[in-house]
């Protein structure tokens, strides 16, 4: 049914396009001076039909079920639901639905069967109603759209207006996601700070959040100083970037400047595979390949290397981040017009000098974009560190030691035994919030740098 509704929708949109375009064409053929192209008249009609009708169908799909449920339950014989709590009502509803779906077991009361029949009826009606309303709406919009066709009608502006509206909608999805995340983080963080003083959190140097969340659970008292956790994130991120940024940038430079086109076409996607390896796999890789190698190295050189080191996790994370930097930087370098490259080469610059001195600065926004994404990923990455870095919070910046990160703590605090009024769980949100603030700072800084050093070419 839904499928038919969507088909109807698209058919109407296409019809609108064709109708309006041909109307505009015939006007034009009749010698009228149209403000807009006939395709814009068509496009406007299609958009006018498409957008509201689509919205209507989506809303219908989202809400029709709960409306039907309410209708069904409302139609039960008076008094059946008296004294039942919401769970029990839910169950009755579930049973009615099962019966309506043809799965009868046991011998249900007649009123349930009757309700199920009613529900089935509503469902059929609802489906028809949706189709009907969709058709009606689409038709109405078609008519409205058809009426707009006139020489003066600014179809281009209107169509572009709708498209712009859609783009604003797209932006708002991103913005609302941000707001959603900030809101939930802030809300829970505030609650956390009502239980744990903020200065303890911000300046404390011990992190032992495994406090009891049930009266009968056994664990230590909690200590919520986020510094060691943050330091851990910092150490791992720095290790990862120390590995990924040079390798990524150098790879991009090589691909863009020195590699043959064929090699480049092959190598770039191959590197991109690194971004898609499941992080769990990287976790295994870190634990089973890199960490033992490091340990052997430590034994040979006498360096004290912990079994779970920040180094192992960071290195492997660095591997994952390579394509973020190499591919973005390669694209940005390719986008620099050839005239600039020629200008530098003609001065007797080597290709290395050309790419480093001229192309690179011109490509800064794209490159920084990639590096920022890599930083973000490093900070936000979870699985690798969960598996490879360990869970112990230590005040250390030694990458050969084992550390824990903000994300690891968030995951461990949120998965498993959780209860949303314990500081233990809320601490996860506070950590998330702090992470958000820190990355915000990094991003502001990066934006400044880009604004400052961006070289607008051409």
């Amino acid at each position: 049914m839904t499928l038919i509704a969507f088909l109807l929708l698209f058919a109407a949109a296409i019809l609108g396009y064709v109708l309006n375009r041909s109307a505009a064409r015939s006007l034009r053929a009749g010698g009228a001076q149209l403000h807009s192209l006939s395709t814009f008249h068509g496009g406007f009609a299609a958009l006018l039909v498409l957008v509201p009708t689509f919205l209507f169908i989506i809303l219908w799909l989202l809400f029709h079920a709960s409306v039907l449920d309410r209708l069904t339950m409302g139609g039960l014989p008076a008094g059946t639901l008296d004294g039942l709590d919401s769970g029990a009502t839910q169950l009755i509803l579930a049973e009615i639905k099962s019966i309506a779906g043809g799965r009868i077991f046991g011998s249900p009361e007649p009123w349930k069967i009757e309700a199920a029949e009613r529900l089935a009826g509503y469902r059929a009606m609802s489906a028809n109603l949706m189709l009907g309303l969709t058709a009606l709406l689409a038709l109405g919009l078609l008519v409205i759209a058809r009426r707009t066709v006139s020489p003066e009608f600014r179809a281009r502006q209107r169509a572009e207006g709708i498209i712009k509206g859609l783009m604003i909608f797209c932006s708002s999805v991103a913005i609302f996601t941000t707001i959603g995340i900030i809101a939930s983080l802030v809300f829970e963080t505030v609650r956390f700070f009502q239980m744990v003083p903020w200065h303890e959190f911000l300046f404390g140097t011990t992190w032992e959040p495994q406090m009891p969340i049930r009266a009968d659970q056994i664990a230590a008292e909690g200590a919520f100083g986020w510094l060691p956790v943050f330091l851990g994130t910092l150490v791992i991120t720095v290790v990862a970037l120390f590995f990924a940024v040079p390798i990524g940038l150098l790879s991009a430079i090589y691909l863009n400047e020195f590699a043959s086109p064929r090699f480049r076409k092959f190598a770039k996607p191959v590197l991109e595979v690194l971004a898609g390896v499941p992080t769990v796999v990287y976790g295994f890789f870190a634990v089973l390949t890199i960490a033992p190698a490091l340990r052997t190295f430590g034994e040979m050189t006498g360096l004290p290397i912990a079994p779970n080191t920040a180094m192992a996790a960071g290195l492997v994370m660095g591997v994952m981040l390579i394509p973020f930097i190499s591919s973005f930087a390669d694209d940005a370098l390719s986008a620099v017009p050839r005239a600039l490259r020629d200008g530098a080469l003609a001065l007797g610059a080597t290709r290395a000098e050309t790419v480093l001195n001229v192309l690179f600065p011109a490509a800064i926004p794209g490159i920084v974009g990639g590096v920022l994404l890599a930083v973000s990923r490093a900070i936000g990455e979870t699985m690798i560190v969960v598996m490879a870095a360990g869970l112990m919070a230590k005040m250390t910046i030694n990458p050969l030691d084992s550390v824990t990160t903000v994300t690891v703590q968030i995951v461990t605090l949120l998965i498993g035994d959780t209860s949303f009024d314990s500081p233990k769980t809320l601490a996860a949100f506070a950590l998330g919030f702090m992470l958000f603030i820190v990355t915000l700072g990094i991003n502001v800084l990066a934006l400044r740098i880009v604004h400052k050093y961006r070289e607008i070419y051409d």
Partner: protein, 428 residues
């Protein structure tokens, strides 16, 4: 103008002088250094990938073959009740078959355990499909159970003391008897791709996870790609440039740093909580991943849009193109390689992401592949997650194999985008 002469002109340079020669050599050396360091960088990246893949292949290749035994089953009334084919004693039937097959075997249970637990259902389904088989003999090729599969692949060391072995001496002897009769084969393990998940390694497959990932990725792509590009175009090309838009830009960049679990939490609260969508649904998983992929695509698109030279925009504006026409006709196609890079990387990341899917229940055990994006299922990374934590030995190689399949899926998925990117790419 007259003071021009008061300045020394650029003196002519003796390119053959030692000083310049040394410098040139130094610069050449620097260039070569950069070239080789660059090559080295790529080499390291490749080596890492090769290491990863070869370690996966070395453990995973075994999972692409599965030991099978060919048996002759006779549907006798002793075990089969023609009136209740669904619940007849197929186990007994197989035990009898195996006892016949292996000379000297006495323990029916033990020899039947050579066969996969699924063998009884294969036998059942065969006769249900064709009840006329009653009383007749059919040839079935069924998988062996995991320990014997391991044995056949040489992964169980016969030299370890019996007590330390998963299979005891008599069990090995029984299997060797089968081997000597030539009824054991090791064909390609189609079950790995054609079956959904199972508790039994020899029957476990990725069909459910593949479809789950496909639906989730499709949803993710259909949402994140247009929304991401739309948002990026609006923010980069149309939104007024002021503090507010800077603020929004920073926040979207920041979204990329939000740990993926947090997206899972958001999805849990919004999609499952408010909208009441079901758990373990690929569509919901796709929406969650879309939220996560969005910032990557937006950032990539904005960077690519920024890189298009102003002269192109001017040229189009100059002939009276509207701003949207400029963007859609000229800027966007030129920015496409960058956008596709962002999409490739974003989707790759989404494909490999586990944490948010755990929160919306996509790490479930589902034995049927989803028929639509709204049926419960797992996804490849969560399937890997589940298998990696299963005690059975057979899952060790299957985990690696699943990762290889995921990478293959990734490569196929990206091939189109990469093809498009190469087509759009031009240096001007």
């Amino acid at each position: 103008m007259t003071d021009m002469t008061s300045h020394p002109g650029p003196k002519s340079i003796d390119w053959t002088s030692d000083e310049i020669g040394a410098r040139v050599r130094k610069r050449k050396a620097a260039e070569n250094r950069l070239r080789y360091i660059g090559l080295g960088a790529i080499g390291i990246a490749f080596a890492m990938l090769a290491l990863l893949i070869s370690s996966l292949v070395s453990t995973g290749w075994q999972a692409f073959r599965q030991t099978h035994v060919t048996i002759q089953v006779t549907y006798t009334p002793e075990f089969i009740n023609p009136d209740n084919l669904q619940r007849s004693n197929y186990r007994g039937l197989l035990e009898a078959t195996m006892l016949d097959l292996i000379p000297g075997a006495t323990n029916g249970r033990s020899v039947a355990a050579i066969l996969s637990n699924g063998a009884q259902f294969t036998a059942r389904d065969r006769i249900i499909a064709d009840p006329a088989l009653m009383g007749q003999t059919v040839t079935l090729r069924v998988p062996t159970s995991d320990p014997y599969d391991q044995l056949a692949k040489g992964l169980i060391d016969r030299d370890t003391p019996e007590a330390n072995r998963r299979l005891k001496n008599d069990e090995i002897a029984a299997f060797d008897a089968l081997l000597s009769q030539g009824v054991v084969s090791k064909p390609f393990n189609w079950a790995l791709l054609g079956n959904a998940d199972s508790r039994f390694p020899e029957q476990a497959g990725l069909k459910g996870a593949l479809w789950g990932s496909f639906y989730a990725l499709l949803t993710c792509f259909l949402l994140a790609f247009p929304i991401g590009i739309g948002a990026a175009i609006y923010l980069e090309e149309f939104a007024p440039k002021n503090k507010m838009s800077d603020f929004i830009e920073v926040n979207i960049n920041n979204l990329a740093a939000v740990p993926s679990v947090v997206f899972g939490l958001l999805a849990l609260a919004v999609f499952l909580g408010w909208f009441g969508m079901g758990r373990s649904i690929p569509f919901v998983g796709g929406m969650t991943l879309a939220l996560m992929t969005l910032p990557t695509i937006i950032i990539a698109t904005r960077a690519a849009l920024k890189a298009v030279p102003p002269s192109i925009r001017e040229a189009a504006l100059g002939v009276g193109a509207s701003k949207q026409q400029v963007v859609f006709h000229h800027v966007l196609p030129l920015a496409m390689p960058g956008i596709l890079t962002g999409t490739i990387i974003g989707l790759a990341q989404a494909l490999g992401e586990t944490a948010p899917l755990l929160l919306i229940g996509m790490n479930a055990f589902v034995t049927a592949a989803p028929a639509t994006p709204f049926d419960p299922s797992t996804a490849l990374p969560t399937q890997i997650f589940i298998w990696a934590d299963s005690p059975e030995r057979g899952f060790v190689s299957r985990t690696s194999a699943a990762i290889l399949v995921l990478l293959g899926f990734l490569v196929m998925m990206n091939a189109v985008a990469i093809y498009l990117r190469n087509r759009f790419e031009r240096r001007w």
